[in-house]
């Protein structure tokens, strides 16, 4: 995890549907009808790898891959599907994000397992990994959404095994926390600077009347 991680929620949806890092060619591709052209899948998959390497997430481009899979049953690159789901799960900026569910909705639109099995080449003995992994990812995501973070980490570590352990020392944990923008360690506590969500104040909303609303009445009075 890069140390420049920002934990403040995005202020608007711009970066979500039209991220600034999206290359122009990809943008043109997914906004036009060329997104249905199966020969573009490789192009989009390369972009997916770039996202993973750079710690970025472009949901809309990845949904275009899943759409191609949905329409072309012979195009079943399971690892790509799993990558997309994992990326959506781990990149959610806030837990109310729908990215994982949106990807899942398309990824699960596939024929029953037996058909997938029957259509697979004989020399290809890999299992239906999507079917194996999805329940686990769903469980992780629902623990996250329900803010059951302790259980989430248990669940996560169980699968990941060694290497996904706790921080080796208190210092390492401290270093991680201080690396996050706007987080400070003070004694036992972590102080998080105001981010709009943790510094709310009571307020009163007053009614506001626009002149436009009164146009009919004023118009009638003027006659």
């Amino acid at each position: 995890m890069p140390s420049t991680t920002s934990v403040a929620p995005p202020k608007n949806a711009q970066e979500w549907h039209n991220p600034s890092f999206r290359p122009e060619e990809i943008n043109a591709l997914i906004l036009g009808v060329d997104r249905y052209n199966p020969s573009n899948v490789g192009f989009l998959e390369e972009y997916l790898q770039t996202q993973i390497e750079n710690g970025q997430h472009d949901l809309f481009a990845n949904l275009a891959i899943l759409k191609l899979h949905q329409f072309n049953l012979n195009m079943t690159n399971q690892h790509v599907v799993i990558d997309i789901l994992l990326l959506a799960l781990t990149s959610a900026p806030t837990i109310d994000s729908q990215d994982f569910n949106l990807a899942l909705a398309l990824a699960l639109d596939r024929p029953p397992a037996s058909i997938i099995q029957a259509n697979r080449d004989d020399d290809d003995d890999e299992e239906d990994e999507v079917a194996l992994v999805v329940p686990y990812l769903k469980k992780c995501w629902s623990l996250l959404r329900e803010c059951r973070f302790r259980e989430f980490w248990q669940c996560w570590k169980q699968e990941e095994g060694e290497g996904a352990d706790d921080f080796a020392s208190a210092d390492e944990a401290k270093a991680f926390v201080e690396g996050v923008n706007g987080w400070q360690v003070s004694g036992e506590n972590v102080a998080i600077e105001g981010n709009g969500d943790n510094d709310v104040k009571s307020s009163v909303i007053k009614e506001h009347v626009e002149l436009k609303q009164l146009s009919k009445i004023i118009g009638a009075a003027a006659v």
Binding site: N12, A13, L59, F60, Q98, D109, N189, D197, S202
Partner: protein, 634 residues
Amino acid sequence: MAQQYYADATADPESLLPETMESAAPAGVATGDYEQYIDDHTAGDANNNEDYIKEMEEERQQALAAVPEDVKKFIGAFHQAILGNDSAQISAMYEGGWNRLTQQYYAESEWPEAELLAPLVGGDQVFLTLYRELYFRHVYAKLEPNVDDRFQSYENICELFNLLLNSEEPVALDLPIQWLWDMLDEFVYQFQSFTAWRADIASKSSEEQQLLADNPQIWSCYSVLNVLYSLVQRSAINEQLAAEHAGSSAEEVAQIAGPYGSKPLYRNLGYFSLICLLRVHLLIGDPTLALQTLSNVHLSSEALFTKITACHVSTYYHVGFAYMSLGRFPDAVKAFVGALIYFNRMKSFHTRSYQYGSISRQCDRMYALLAICTTLAPGPVDEGTMSAMREKYGEQLLTMQRGGEDALPVYRELYLSAAPKFLSPIAPPYETPDQLSAYASESEALDPHTRHADLFLSGVHASLSAPTMRSFLKLYTTIDAKKLASFMDEDEDDVLEKMMVLKSANRTFGSREGAGGSLLDGERMVVGNLDFTINGDAVSVAETTTNKRYAGYFIRNAEHAQRVLETIRAAPLPITRPAGQSVTTQGDAKSGAAGQRTAAGGARGGAPVTGARAGQTAKAGGAAGRTSGNPWAR
């Protein structure tokens, strides 16, 4: 010339059907601009069907003789109206005559086959294709379409779109926007109906299975999208709309539109295709793409889609639902409420329309979705709409608002009944019959409708604890976290987790009023009026109070009073006057239950329906008009 012939036909088109078709056909119209396509088509048909035609000719003539005279006249006149591009006449026959004759002669059977009627219209293939479109629509709406109907309706509509899209120059045909919308709406509906029918393997005979195996392209998702995207591209509608929003002049827009897009027929078809794409993308589970297709359609009260009630309601229903799938409940609520207010206002004008039933069912679904959305994201919503919703779904609303596990089945039930019928573009493997039974046994678990419901409910499940937490916090301004935990009889860490759930349930993205731009744009916002902060162990509750809103109430009532005053002023005084003078505008004031507001609205000259009726009543004459038009009499 056609224009002239039907000059006064607009008042009551049916009564003015021409006596003999020969005399009605204005010379020269028959050689319309699209004649070249007619030739192409007759040539093609003749080659394919020559034997068939000869065999059937005699039988056909007999059958044609059996067609009621009224219907024959209607077809002839309809053909002339379309040849003459007489839009007023086409509208009147499309909306009036067709439905009247359907009720009279074809309430329980098909209209005559198009081939049968060919002699009446000189074999005009364009007209016959349009006729078949109406023919199949009638079959789908009133009868049970069989496999042949389903296949043929697809082939027919493709032929029509092919004709429009692949011509060397724009087809000189002008159809009312209501028809164009209905045509595309029906196209998507038939696709939806076919996909659902195809998915039900058990009900297929072996013949049907064979047909489906041989024709995978029929009503395939690809071909449906292909038609819609082609119409969008041919009409350059996105470019046109973008230019209009950028403030380009009409000439500049026409330049961008090109020879096709500048024709109303193509422009309107392109526009409605965008709305249909919204729907198709949503049906196959892609709400982001659905909203993306509308990026050039601004949801304003001036937009073209608001000109047609069915289209207006459908657009907001699908936009609202897409927002709901993105967890943007305030935006969903805005879309639903806008459509519902509009529909309730328009209701009195539309009860006659054959679509009234389906529009009002769609509105019922919106009330159900509104109940879900306002529970998940409480906030100020139009009071009238909310009380109408409570009338329909009050009980369910209470259960959902209480939260907890009991609420889940209610959410599910409402969602399943109110969501669009999701579908999968993946067809059962009819081409490999030995896989069919395995598919059938497993596919139930993969039913797209349940799958989407499950996904949505997983989100709902996460926030089930929010209502309880909210009602606890409401009691305090500050409280110690430990104390709160003991009140709730739970572990402190669990309580903190539930507070995080509430925090997240209160946050979403929402589009800003009048910001324009993509429907996907939105700003981070807080919903609900209760928020809190945690500092160490201390929880401080921050409540946002909204002052009661009075302005809307006063504005509504002041406007209402103004209308009443206008009505009174325009009405005759309740004293005797010489007959005939006083009947001016208020002929329809008697139209009862809808009350003053409707009467006044009609009189101020909006809706043509009311206007026409007022005229008739006026003609009907003196005394009745005078007393009934008199507001004092009530």
